[in-house]
C-alpha cells in the first residue's frame, strides 16, 4: 500500500477513481437538480452558475445527469467483470490445477471464445438476449470470461510446481485446502491487475453498447445513453457531448493508470519496461 502510494501513476489513478466513485455515490442520492426533470424554458443553455455544465435539449441539468448516471455505468462494468472473474477465474484455476482432460477441455473452449473479437461476442449475446442493462452485464461478462480463464490458468500453472504446493500435496491436504490456502493467495496479484484493467475495458464496451441503443434506455441518465441522445443536437452546443465523454474518459484513465501501477508493483520484471 505504501509502495502504491509512492508510485506516481498509481497514486493519480487511485485518487481519480476515488473522486469519480465518490461523486457517483453522492449522485445516487442527491443532485443539484432533478436529473430527469424536463424544463422547456431552460433548453440548450450553455454552462452558467445555475447549470455549471449546461442543459440538454429537454432543459435537463447535465451536471445532475452525469452525477446520477455514474453509478449505473460503474456498476454495469463492475458486475460484468465480477461475473467474468468468478466464472473465468474459477474454470481457469480448475484447469490449471487438475490439468489433463479438464485442462484440455477448458483451453479448447477458451480458444474458441477468444476467436471472437470481444465486442463482437458481446454484441452477438445482446442480439440473442435482447438489449437491457442486465443483458449487457451478462454479455460483457461472458466476453471477459476467456481472458480471466487464461490468466488464472497460467498463474496457477506457475504456482503448482512450487515447493510449498508439493509439500502440501505430500502432507495429504485436500484439493480444496490446497486451492484455497496455497494456490489462490498466490495468484491474487496478477488477477488484481487484470481485474482493474478489465473494468476499464468493460466500461468502454458497456457504454458503447448503451450508445448503440442496446443497453440502458433513455431517459435513464447513463453516460453512453447521454452521448447517444446528444448526437442529433451536438452541433448546437459543445457542452452536450463534453461532460459525459470526459467523465467516461476520466474513469477509464483512472483504472488504466491504477492497473499500470499495480502491474509495476506486483510484477517487478515489467518495471524496467513500464518505466
Amino acid at each position: 500500500m505504501k509502495r502504491l502510494a509512492r508510485h506516481p501513476s498509481a497514486l493519480v489513478g487511485a485518487v481519480l477513481l476515488l473522486v469519480v466513485v465518490a461523486a457517483s455515490l453522492v449522485g445516487m442520492v442527491a443532485t443539484p437538480h432533478d436529473p430527469t426533470a424536463v424544463d422547456p424554458l431552460a433548453r440548450m443553455q450553455s454552462p452558467t452558475l445555475a447549470y455549471p455544465l449546461g442543459t440538454d435539449q429537454f432543459g435537463r441539468d447535465i451536471l445532475s445527469r452525469v452525477l446520477a448516471g455514474g453509478h449505473l455505468t460503474l456498476a454495469t462494468a463492475f458486475f460484468s467483470v465480477l461475473f467474468g472473474l468468478f466464472i473465468g477465474g474459477g474454470i481457469g484455476c480448475l484447469a490449471g490445477y487438475f490439468g489433463r482432460t479438464v485442462d484440455l477441455g477448458v483451453v479448447a473452449l477458451m480458444d474458441i471464445l477468444l476467436a471472437f473479437p470481444a465486442v463482437l461476442l458481446a454484441l452477438g449475446i445482446v442480439a440473442i438476449l435482447g438489449g437491457s442493462v442486465t443483458n449487457v452485464i451478462v454479455a460483457v461478462g461472458i466476453a471477459t470470461v476467456p481472458v480471466f480463464a487464461r490468466v488464472a490458468r497460467a498463474a496457477v500453472l506457475s504456482v503448482v510446481v512450487r515447493p510449498y504446493v508439493k509439500a502440501a500435496i505430500a502432507m495429504g491436504c485436500t484439493h480444496r485446502r490446497i486451492l484455497a490456502r496455497h494456490v489462490l493467495p498466490n495468484i491474487l496479484g496478477p488477477m488484481l491487475v487484470l481485474t482493474t484493467t478489465t473494468i476499464a475495458t468493460a466500461i468502454l464496451i458497456g457504454s458503447a453498447l448503451s450508445f448503440l441503443g442496446l443497453g440502458a434506455a433513455p431517459p435513464t441518465p447513463e453516460w453512453g445513453v447521454m452521448l447517444s441522445d446528444a448526437r442529433a443536437y451536438m452541433q448546437l452546443g459543445w457542452w452536450l457531448t463534453a461532460a459525459p465523454g470526459v467523465a467516461l474518459a476520466l474513469v477509464v484513465l483512472a483504472l488504466n493508470l491504477l492497473g499500470d501501477g499495480l502491474r509495476d508493483l506486483i510484477d517487478p520484471t515489467s518495471r524496467q519496461v513500464g518505466g
Binding site: P117, L123, A127, G130, S207, L227, Q235, G245
Partner: protein, 311 residues
C-alpha cells in the same frame, strides 16, 4: 516453412468448427422458436413458416441441422434475410468494401503513429519527452471511441468545416473515421513497441553492434527494430479484432454503410440471420488475419522458419 504452415492450419480447424457450433446454436438460445428468429418481425404466412421449417430441417435432430448449416456455410450460404429479401452473403459482400477501406486506413495510421511514438519514447527513455508521450498514450487508450468520433466530427466537420461529416463518397471522408478508429490501436502499439524496444536494447548483440562503432541509426533500425517488432506484430493482429468492433461504432457515427452498420441493423431489427452471418464472417476473417500475422513472423524471424523455437 510448409510444415509450420500446415501445423498452423491444422490447429485452426477445431477453433473454426467451435466458432461455427456456437454461431449455429445461438439460433436456439433466442427466445421463441427458431423459425421466428429466422424471419424476425417480417410477417410471413403459416405456409412459409412450414416451408422454412422443412427447408432448415428444424424438425430433424440437432446434429443433422448443424451439419447442413456447416455445409451451407462452407458453400458461402450464410442464410437469408427476410427483411431485405436477400441472401446474407450478398449483403455482407455489398457492405464489406467500406469496412475494409476503413480498417486498412486505420491500421496504417495506427502502425505509423504508434511506431513513431513508441520508438521516440524508447530512445528518449526517462526523459520528459518519454513521460509526455507515454502519458498521452495512456490517455488515448482511455478515450471511448464513440466519444472521440463525436468530438472530431464536431471540431473538424461542423465547426471548422474542413472535412465532410458523414457518408463516404466525398474526398477526405475517410480521414475522420480512420483517425477515430486508429487512436486506440496506435496507443497500444506505442506502449508495446516502447517496452519491446527497451528490452531488446539491453541484448548483447546491440551492445556488440554499438561497441564496434556502428552508427546509432543502424543499430536501432537494423538490429534492434527487427527483433522488437516481433512481439508487437501479435498485438497488431489482435488489434484488428478491436478495430472490427470499433467499426460498428465508427460507422454509426459517420453513417458509413459497412459491415458494422449491417450487424447493428440486424440486432435492432431482430433480423437474426444477419447477426449470425456477419458475426460468423467477421470472426472467421479475424482468425484468418491472425493466421497471416503468425505467418509474417516467419518472414521477420528466421528462427521459426527453420523450425527452431521462438525465444
Amino acid at each position: 516453412m510448409i510444415r509450420y504452415l500446415l501445423q498452423r492450419l491444422l490447429l485452426l480447424v477445431p477453433v473454426l468448427l467451435g466458432v461455427s457450433v456456437l454461431v449455429f446454436l445461438s439460433l436456439y438460445l433466442t427466445p421463441g422458436d427458431p423459425v421466428t428468429a429466422v424471419v424476425g418481425d417480417v410477417p410471413v404466412s403459416e405456409e412459409t413458416r412450414a416451408q422454412l421449417r422443412a427447408q432448415y430441417g428444424f424438425d430433424r435432430p440437432l446434429w443433422e441441422q448443424y451439419l447442413s448449416f456447416l455445409g451451407r456455410a462452407l458453400q458461402g450460404d450464410l442464410g437469408y434475410s427476410f427483411r431485405y429479401q436477400r441472401p446474407v452473403l450478398d449483403l455482407v459482400l455489398q457492405n464489406i468494401p467500406q469496412t475494409i477501406q476503413l480498417m486498412l486506413a486505420a491500421i496504417a495510421l495506427a502502425v505509423v503513429l504508434g511506431g513513431l511514438v513508441g520508438t521516440v519514447a524508447a530512445l528518449r527513455k526517462g526523459s520528459k519527452v518519454d513521460t509526455a508521450l507515454m502519458g498521452l498514450a495512456t490517455v488515448g487508450l482511455s478515450l471511448p471511441t464513440f466519444w472521440l468520433g463525436m468530438v472530431l466530427l464536431l471540431v473538424f466537420a461542423v465547426n471548422l468545416r474542413w472535412l465532410p461529416a458523414i457518408g463516404s463518397d466525398r474526398p477526405g471522408a475517410l480521414l475522420l473515421p480512420a483517425v477515430t478508429l486508429a487512436v486506440g490501436a496506435a496507443c497500444i502499439i506505442a506502449r508495446f513497441l516502447r517496452g519491446s524496444l527497451l528490452e531488446v536494447l539491453t541484448n548483447d548483440y546491440v551492445v556488440a553492434a554499438r561497441s564496434k562503432g556502428m552508427r546509432e541509426r543502424r543499430v536501432i533500425g537494423v538490429h534492434a527494430m527487427r527483433n522488437a517488432v516481433i512481439p508487437v506484430l501479435t498485438i497488431v493482429g489482435l488489434q484488428i479484432g478491436n478495430l472490427l468492433a470499433g467499426a460498428v461504432v465508427v460507422e454509426t457515427i459517420f453513417t458509413r454503410h459497412g459491415i458494422g452498420q449491417l450487424l447493428l441493423a440486424g440486432i435492432t431489427n431482430r433480423d437474426f440471420p444477419i447477426v449470425q452471418g456477419t458475426v460468423l464472417f467477421a470472426t472467421v476473417s479475424y482468425v484468418l488475419v491472425n493466421l497471416l500475422v503468425d505467418l509474417l513472423y516467419t518472414v521477420v524471424d528466421p528462427r521459426i522458419r527453420h523450425g527452431g523455437k521462438r525465444s
